[in-house]
């Protein structure tokens, strides 16, 4: 499966993580918090890059440090610190569902992961990695693009049915 190149990730850790870590330290955080904040910033950056919602020609360094600061302030505020956060520019807004809890409970999550690994990978390629049909056909070794679309809908239907059945079972019990 296509993943962000480890080499690129190593470079940004080397170049940018020390700056983010120093900022988190100044704000009163520890190494674990700096790691979490940096991970969040990288993930949000990559999502916005795939959705083409990054500001034009924004250097990765400036964006990552900026979003990390916003994530850090948010985390400290949740822990009760009184820190004010100035108006956040639209391109730096954290996705609304980013800090939401898992949409399904752990036992169901494990069940879906165990029974539908390939389906989840296919759906991730479509809806999270935003890969094209031809990239997915090649990664998943489908013969033609039409098969990819049909398979995607079958997978959506399969996982959706599992969720509905579990919801029903919970309601009945």
């Amino acid at each position: 499966m296509r993943h962000q190149d480890d080499q690129w990730l190593k470079e940004i850790y080397r170049d940018i993580f020390p700056r983010v870590a120093a900022m988190v330290r100044r704000m009163g955080g520890d190494l674990d918090m700096a790691k979490d904040i940096f991970q969040d910033a990288v993930i949000i950056y990559l999502e916005k890059q795939r959705q083409h919602t990054l500001p034009e020609q924004a250097p990765a360094m400036a964006y990552l440090v900026g979003i990390a600061r916003i994530c850090c302030v948010r985390k400290l505020k949740r822990e009760g610190e009184h820190i004010s956060l100035e108006q956040v520019p639209e391109e730096m807004v954290i996705p609304a569902d980013y800090y939401a809890p898992a949409p399904v409970q752990r036992p169901l999550l494990d069940y879906i992961k165990a029974t539908g690994k390939r389906c989840l990978e296919l759906l991730r390629a479509f809806y999270y990695d935003d890969l094209s049909i031809s990239e997915i056909a090649s990664d998943f070794q489908f013969k033609n693009p039409h098969t990819v679309s049909v398979q995607k809908y079958k997978c959506l239907e399969k996982v959706r049915t599992q969720l509905q059945q579990m919801d029903y079972a919970e309601t009945v019990s």
Binding site: H3, Q4, D6, L9, K10, Y13, R14, F17, P18, A21, A22, R25, D30, L31, A34, K35, F38, Q39, V42, I43, L46, D97, Y98, A100, A102, P103, V104, L109, I112, K113, L120, L123, R124, Y127, Y128, D129, V150, Y153, K154, L156, E157, V159, R160, T161, L163, Q164, D167
Partner: protein, 85 residues
Amino acid sequence: MRKQLADTREIEQYLEQQMPAASRLLFQVRMLLDPMIKEKVAAQRKVLQLVRWLGREEKKKQLDQVFGQLMQDETFHHTITTIFK
């Protein structure tokens, strides 16, 4: 495409806001009249949330591994631990 898959595709178009305004309105009326469709829409929305959540979890694992590898590097390790001394 069989009926069930056609429904799934239609729900996807609704959730991804890829439906023309008139079809969207019609679909909303259908949801009001048919609780089954409404349930399917809610469950399919949850599938998309789940896929996004799992995508982020996987990415965090990858980032953890990269960080772990880098911390084996003496210079990087020193730079980071010095910040938190």
